[in-house]
């Protein structure tokens, strides 16, 4: 049985107060809190194993390298990737997308080629492609969303064509909570000869991912949204693509041999990991994955679905409150606006009640434009949130109403 109180006890920060009230942390889509196991893993690494990796002959360097590479295997198993060398460590989802746009994009795209992204993408899955289009003359096309915040049925299929070289799609929208039919998109894109990059930043903490079954070409995520450390993320890429791609950055670790005449590159995955990486972060990410798997993603998803259903029910009974993002399949995110109150004011008042939510455009300005809104308020749930906290959110929203609309 899933015991949420036992879960909470593993997250030290949840014990703190904010403005004299118990912290109700509902900004998990921005970043999740860290369990003791992750904090301890990083600490243990620094206290007992700290050394640079892949170079020393001494014991610490060997231990650090082993810990680092063991985490790569954990990521590989977590994503069900066929090969460990398909797992590249990056600073986060953003850097992983930039790596693909730069390395794959600049060698494979030419003027007139097309990249498809959806209207609900995070800026991280828009701007790197815009930069690539500027550099190559390729064209960025946008799969529109409908009023529910789901992809307009049939729109992707009609945009997909012989010029489409890559489709960039988020598995779960951070602004709306929409879960996209990525398996279907990947299948159709492949039939048209296009590759697919899946932005899993909002997905990995909620859905179990199988990159082999999905057959995606690239998959990216950030550790910090998965109960892991900030500053570390992952690019999964099919070996056949990664092998052909040129390095993204040059430096130490990514080379086989350097002379001033010619430098040859290291094999995968090291070809894409120039310089000393965030070793402690990788170790922490490994611990986060162990933690998640020990709880079980199905269990986590079931718990979060209950919270989302409760929040959605309370929202629909709240006069003047409108949920933004009502697609049939959603994960863990409730974006909303309140008549007569700007989201920024909602955020400040909720904060004074100890309730942390996100307000703003959520790095998805095209989504805001779609709904003709400057911003929304967003509550997002994690495995440690409770039904009482959902109630606290709505109590605090009543207080907003009292102050603003009495």
């Amino acid at each position: 049985m899933f015991d949420v109180q036992r879960m909470r006890a593993q997250f030290p920060i949840l014990a703190r107060e904010v403005h004299g009230r118990p912290l109700v942390y509902l900004d998990n889509a921005a970043t999740t809190q860290k369990p003791r196991a992750v904090i301890d893993a990083e600490r243990h690494y620094y206290e007992f194993q700290n050394a640079n990796i892949h170079r020393g002959v001494h014991a610490l360097s060997q231990e650090a390298t082993d810990a680092f590479e063991a985490a790569r295997d954990k990521v590989k198993n977590f994503l069900k990737a066929p090969h460990r060398e398909e797992i590249i460590f990056t600073r986060g989802a953003t850097e992983a997308i930039n790596l693909v746009a730069h390395s794959w994009g600049r060698t494979n795209l030419k003027a007139g080629d097309e990249i498809l992204v959806s209207e609900m993408e995070h800026h991280a899955n828009i701007v790197p492609w815009q930069l690539l289009c500027e550099a190559t003359g390729a064209v960025l096309k946008v799969i529109p969303i409908d009023e529910r915040g789901a992809l307009v049925p049939g729109a992707f299929e009609s945009l997909l064509g012989p010029r489409t070289k890559l489709v960039g799609i988020t598995q779960v929208s951070n602004a709306l909570g929409t879960v996209n039919p990525v398996a279907d998109i990947i299948r159709k894109a492949h039939q048209a000869g296009a590759l697919v990059l899946v932005d899993g930043a909002q997905a990995v903490a909620h859905l179990s991912v199988d990159v082999k079954a999905l057959d995606c070409d690239f998959y990216v995520f950030s550790g910090h949204k998965l109960y892991g450390p900030t500053g570390i993320g992952v690019l999964y890429g099919k070996r056949e693509h990664l092998e052909k791609m040129p390095p993204y950055q040059g430096g130490g670790d990514m080379i086989a041999q350097v002379t001033f005449k010619k430098t040859t590159y290291n094999e995968l995955p090291y070809k894409f990991e120039a310089g000393t990486p965030h070793i402690a972060g990788v170790v922490g990410l490994g611990a986060a994955i162990d933690f998640i798997l020990s709880v079980g993603l199905e269990t986590i998803a079931a718990h979060e679905d209950t919270l989302l259903a409760q929040a959605t029910r309370l929202a629909s009974a709240f006069e003047g409150l409108q949920v933004i993002g009502t697609a049939p399949g959603k994960a863990s995110i409730l974006s909303f606006v309140m008549k007569g109150v700007h989201p920024h004011d909602i955020g400040t008042i909720l904060d004074s009640e100890g309730v942390a939510i996100r307000t703003g455009h959520h790095c998805a300005m095209p989504v805001m434009d779609h709904y003709h809104l400057p911003a929304t308020a967003r509550a997002s749930f994690a495995l440690y949130n409770t039904p009482d906290e959902v109630d606290a959110l709505f109590r605090a929203l009543r207080r907003v109403e009292e102050l603003f609309l009495k």
Partner: protein
């Protein structure tokens, strides 16, 4: 945290619900757009400046209660001020919302003093004033609080 009531004074609610000097100003000879990318607030400021004196000030746009009330109060305060006087007011206002000592009489603008206790909201309060600066210089690019 300081009391929410320090931030959300009655006057602020009043100006948020019924912003003064709201709308277009066809006779304006200075304009500027302001944008706060953090919260998506946008406002456009129109001024009619004659002989170095701000004869009229109006604004349009959508923002939070703090930025709307601040713009509304600012347009009231500007009427009849010279450009130099407006600059002194902005300086005083800026000191106030940063929680620093203020040496000028800010009049009604003082209701926004509570903002200094809410650092995340300082930009909301100053958006209108940054936009004013741009309008007085007649800068054509939108100003941003970032």
């Amino acid at each position: 945290m300081s009391d929410l009531r320090d931030l959300y004074q009655e006057v602020i609610f009043d100006h948020n619900r019924h912003p003064r000097n709201f709308g277009a100003l066809p006779e304006a000879n200075r304009h500027a757009d302001g944008f706060n990318p953090l919260c998506g607030d946008r406002l456009t400021l129109h001024l009619r400046v004659e002989g170095g004196v701000i004869q009229e000030a109006r604004f349009e746009g959508a923002g939070c209660a703090i930025s709307t009330a601040s713009a509304s109060l600012m347009t009231e305060a500007l009427k009849g001020k010279t450009e130099a006087e407006a600059a002194i007011l902005f300086e005083g206002f800026h000191h106030m919302v940063m929680g620093e000592p203020v040496s000028v009489d800010l009049g009604k603008l003082a209701v926004l003093a509570g903002v200094s206790e809410f650092p995340a909201r300082v930009k909301c309060a100053t958006l209108a004033w940054h936009t004013l600066n741009a309008a007085l210089k007649n800068e054509s690019n939108p100003v941003s609080t970032e």
